[in-house]
């Protein structure tokens, strides 16, 4: 009896999972976030970008066919204080006047087993393009697909923080980027 109680909903879930092989395409910007951590004099200082847009297409049944594009409005940065925010939009850092957005375009997705994946792609910041590997997890939360990932970016690869700021003892080269993306199936698919 007990087994049945568990087995039935489990089977139903499984069935639902295969029957609606949905593709998550509609990003919920309000629920998504893009944060980072820097180290200043050994002190961890968190920050985030308030404005970014993500295009995504992810079908858990065919993860390797997934793709994503991320555009970050660099001026929307919160680097921890007003002084820092004023500084990092400047020429030595992001130079947002000349390079207002940063862009990540995926070139492929690898399945690492379980709910773990790896997005490969090209990150362009301040006119510099570099290959990036971003491990992430995917989980379904009701109708939502939730992506969580983090990777380390070396700021000097993109000339972020030039001149006196290239002193890594003050601000470390390694910047940890953390993303949390919530997406729903595209409107058309959701109606099915």
């Amino acid at each position: 009896m007990k087994l049945q109680l568990i087995a039935l909903p489990a089977a139903a879930l499984l069935l639902a999972g295969t029957a609606h092989a949905v593709e998550f395409k509609q990003v919920d910007a309000a629920k998504s976030s893009l944060a980072f951590n820097t180290k200043q004099m050994g002190v961890p200082v968190p920050g985030s970008f308030k404005k970014f847009s993500t295009q995504i297409a992810f079908d858990p049944a065919k993860p390797t066919a997934a793709s994503t594009t991320l555009d970050i409005d660099l001026a929307s940065i919160d680097a921890g204080s007003k002084d820092a925010n004023d500084e990092v939009v400047g020429k030595q850092w992001f130079n947002v006047k000349a390079f207002p957005t940063a862009r990540f375009v995926s070139t492929g997705v690898k399945a690492l087993g379980g709910n773990r994946f790896e997005a490969l792609g090209k990150m362009t910041i301040k006119g510099q393009t570099r290959d990036v590997v971003a491990p992430f997890t995917f989980k379904q939360d009701g109708a939502n697909g939730v992506f969580d990932g983090a990777f380390v970016l070396k700021r000097m690869d993109y000339n972020i923080g030039e001149g006196p700021w290239s002193d890594f003892s003050a601000v470390a080269n390694e910047i940890e980027i953390k993303f949390h993306v919530v997406a729903t199936p595209a409107a058309a698919t959701a109606k099915k």
């Binding site: 050994g42 204080s81 006196p164």
Partner: protein, 178 residues
């Protein structure tokens, strides 16, 4: 002169080390906060915080020393002078504790944890809160001006005893005095 007329060696050591640290951290604090943001500024802020935390630690040591090895009895002087000296000393002790503490709290409230010597993270006793950070900055500054006045009074008193009264008040706190 019997040795009990002098402060204990640990008390003398703590007194002068703290004095030196305050003499460095105080002008550093005044200087650094006006600087434009730069790696240099970040470094000075860290040095200032590390010095402050060192004072806080030495304050604890000093209180322990004072409890274990009580200071020598005050030298003869009018009662009102004893009162002022005692009050000044008590306030100085209080500030040796409160000035670093408010700096530490201000740091946390402004969202910058204090990491002692860049390796030992101190807990954030308050969360990031801009208004609290601004308030603590005011408190930290005001306490420092009070510290400035009290140190001035303390030095003036010591010199007055040494030069005018020609007594042992200062000598018994000097590291190499007899």
């Amino acid at each position: 002169m019997p040795s009990t007329d002098r402060y204990s060696a640990p008390a003398i050591g703590a007194h002068w080390i703290i004095a030196l640290l305050i003499l460095v951290a105080w002008p550093l604090g005044v200087y650094m906060h006006e600087l434009p943001l730069s790696p240099y500024k970040l470094k000075l802020y860290s040095y200032h915080k590390w010095i402050g935390i060192t004072v806080l630690l030495l304050f604890v040591v000093r209180i322990a020393v004072r409890t274990l090895m009580p200071p020598p009895a005050p030298l003869p002087a009018p009662a009102w002078q004893h009162k002022i000296a005692t009050a000044t000393h008590h306030l100085l002790y209080l500030l040796m504790f409160l000035v670093p503490l408010t700096g530490w709290l201000m740091s946390s409230a402004k969202g910058f944890q204090t990491v002692y010597f860049g390796v030992l993270p101190l807990p954030d006793l308050v969360g990031k809160d801009k208004e609290l950070g601004d308030l603590l900055k005011e408190v930290h500054e005001s306490l420092n001006w009070l510290l400035f006045v009290l140190v001035g009074l303390h030095v003036a008193g010591a010199l007055k005893h040494h030069i005018i009264d020609r007594d042992a008040t200062l000598r018994r706190m000097l590291p190499f005095g007899k």
